[in-house]
């Protein structure tokens, strides 16, 4: 392993769009046809308010609600910031002005799971404690709520000798999931030279952030400057 000291390495850590994973009383579930495993809270809101009928990755989705009950109320409070009466009025305004339709509404978690499992594109919600089969549970992240995580231990990436000799540099973009205890749980390379990416990932996995009540998903860029 090459020395951690690099002549002109400037590691600019930029936290872009810090997000927090929502840990609530409900979990959002989706049919297996939905490609994404993680979506934003704003996407959830957009889908359930019929502002959009697809996710950012282009998957068509169909919102499904429960008719009433504590799970329904918890979902409305967490994601739509409103009451059931407000939501029903909202849907009815769409229906009676010709601008939308009334989403499917089901009576229980069991009906919800069964419907989502068999309906392409269906996205719904159940109690966090409900056992779900044949559906996927989506991780929901909330963007920009000020959940900044402070980096307390940083390890500099090793600049691969071969690339450095060849003056090959560039910026590597990473998405990392920071656990509640501050450790980096997962790292995904979003862009940049793959070999530099491997070096960046190896270093970032050793970083430690401040603790928090929830997970944080963050994007950052690490430039590699060979000069």
């Amino acid at each position: 392993m090459k020395s951690h000291k690099l002549l002109s390495l400037v590691a600019v850590i930029v936290i872009v769009s810090p997000v927090s994973v929502i840990a609530a009383d409900v979990k959002v579930i989706a049919n297996g046809s939905v490609k994404a495993d993680m979506i934003s809270a704003s996407e959830v809101k957009s889908v359930f308010l019929e502002e959009s009928n697809s996710l950012r990755d282009g998957t068509h989705v169909e919102p499904v609600l429960e008719k009433d009950g504590p799970v329904h109320e918890a979902f409305l409070h967490e994601y739509l910031a409103g009451t059931d009466d407000d939501l029903q009025s909202y849907y009815r305004a769409l229906v009676f002005s010709g601008r939308g339709s009334m989403p499917k509404q089901l009576a229980s978690d069991a009906e919800m799971v069964a419907y989502v499992a068999r309906t392409k594109g269906a996205i719904g919600y159940v109690s966090a404690e409900t056992t779900v089969e044949d559906v996927k549970t989506l991780t929901i992240v909330r963007e920009g709520n000020g959940a900044q995580r402070r980096l307390i231990t940083r390890v500099e990436p090793d600049y691969p000798d071969t690339l450095k000799r060849l003056n090959i540099g560039g910026t590597v973009r990473l998405q990392l999931t920071i656990g509640p205890r501050g450790n980096v749980e997962t790292v995904e390379v979003l862009g940049g030279n793959p070999i530099l990416g491997e070096a960046a990932v190896a270093a970032v996995r050793q970083w430690v952030y401040t603790a928090s009540r929830s997970r944080t998903v963050a994007e950052l860029s690490i430039p590699f400057d060979s000069h």
């Binding site: 910031a81 009815r92 229906v95 010709g98 920009g144």
Partner: protein
């Protein structure tokens, strides 16, 4: 003379033409059957596509202490305040939806249970930020124009008449044409912009308020409508629950029919026409919803410059209305609300007819304004059925060259300066 009391508007008597009553009855039965069907299921399958069915019916009772209001005989108490609608729609593909709604109403002398196609739309949403809809499309104008018929969506039995006159519903309710629409997310810190741009043709029923108003002068309007185009832009701000927006509507309207010649009234009916020279509406609005509390406010200015009587005269009407309303949900089944509505009209007639119409620009006169203070209570008996009790305290009657709820035909002795009204209304929707 021009101010003849003879009205050529079809009078809404208990009789009426048989075929219209049959049509109305069929439509009402259809709605009733659909309601029964809907209690079991609000959708069915057609060609492997789900078709949703929804409908509503409302019935009101109005009593006024003095002037008769909204073409009803309200000083005796009137229940001629009924409307109902039925729609079907289907999401044909991921991006394509179709639907249509039939609507019928009777409001005093207006509507007279002539069913109409309320809207019929084919809607293709390419992306959340760009969609196209065409057909007969409800017009986006302010907060409530496109949903003004569905009072079950709101606390109040009647929207502020200074901005949403129910007797003149046909003027703005829908256009036969096309819209482009979409929502643009500006990011977490800047909110969401929603836009609509449209163009189409407006066509008023001859049983609507303006033809009825002209009938007070012996006019018989056979057609009234024309080109409408405009847009709406609204901003859901980063402050949760706060929305502001603006709408603009331009139109080129023409009306044709017959009328009594005011200069030779004994010669019978002569061809009559009027048309827009400049005809536009600006509307600005804001809404703030926090918890159980909602505040709305809107301002509408309608400028109407018309050629009258085949171009022999011209009128300039500047109509302005605004309101501020507040509503509070006390509990799941009970809401209360109040609003103040402020309406003024100033009008100048030029040309031959000016001899009969002196300028009317003093908006402090009761004839040129209507200030309405309203208090409402709403009880939801269940998810589908509500009852409202509403009181209006109106100062003025705004009965100028453009109507605002007060008509000479039902007030032959003239107008009292103030009107208090009690409105009871119930509506069912599914």
């Amino acid at each position: 003379m021009w101010n003849s009391s003879r009205s050529n508007f079809p009078i809404n008597r208990l009789g009426g033409r048989i075929h219209k009553r049959i049509l109305c009855l069929v439509f009402a039965l259809l709605c009733f059957q659909a309601a029964q069907f809907a209690l079991m299921a609000q959708e069915f399958k057609l060609l492997d596509r789900t078709v949703q069915v929804h409908g509503f019916v409302s019935q009101g009772l109005v009593y006024t202490n003095d002037n008769n209001w909204l073409t009803m005989n309200t000083s005796q108490g009137s229940a001629a305040f009924t409307d109902f609608g039925l729609n079907m729609s289907s999401q044909v593909t991921d991006k394509f939806r179709i639907g249509a709604q039939g609507y019928d109403r009777n409001l005093g002398q207006l509507g007279q249970y002539h069913p109409s196609l309320d809207w019929a739309v084919a809607d293709y949403r390419f992306e959340s930020w760009f969609g196209v809809r065409g057909g007969k499309v409800k017009t986006t104008l302010g907060l409530y124009n496109d949903t003004q018929d569905e009072d079950f969506l709101r606390t109040f039995a009647l929207l502020p008449q200074g901005v949403y006159p129910t007797d003149l519903r046909d003027a703005t309710i829908a256009h036969l044409g096309a819209d482009i629409y979409g929502k643009l997310s500006l990011g977490h810190r800047l909110g969401v912009l929603s836009y609509t741009v449209y163009t189409g043709h407006r066509s008023d029923s001859i049983y609507s308020g303006y033809p009825y108003y002209l009938s007070s002068f012996g006019g018989q309007i056979k057609s009234y409508g024309g080109l409408q185009y405009g847009g709406d832009l609204r901003w859901s701000t980063p402050l949760k629950g706060f929305l502001i927006g603006a709408s603009r509507l331009n139109e080129h309207i023409a009306g044709k029919g017959l009328a009594i010649n005011p200069f030779a009234p004994g010669t019978g009916l002569v061809p009559y026409s009027e048309s827009s020279r400049a005809d536009w509406t600006n509307q600005f609005y804001g809404e703030y919803v926090v918890g159980r509390f909602r505040i709305d406010s809107e301002y509408r200015r309608y400028w109407r410059n018309q050629e009258l009587f085949s171009g022999t005269s011209e009128s300039f009407a500047d109509i302005r209305g605004w309101y501020v309303s507040g509503a509070y949900r006390i509990c799941k089944r009970l809401q209360i609300g109040s609003y103040y509505s402020h309406y003024t009209i100033s009008n100048i007639v030029a040309g031959a007819l000016s001899a009969f119409y002196p300028p009317a620009s003093d908006t402090t006169l009761p004839a040129n304004h209507d200030y309405d203070k309203v208090v409402t209570g709403r009880v939801d008996l269940n998810k589908f059925w509500n009852v409202k009790v509403e009181v209006h305290f109106m100062d003025g009657y705004g009965s100028g060259p453009y109507p605002n709820g007060f008509y000479t035909q039902v007030n032959p002795s003239g107008f009292a300066p103030n009107t208090n009204a009690l409105v009871l209304k119930t509506s069912l929707n599914f």
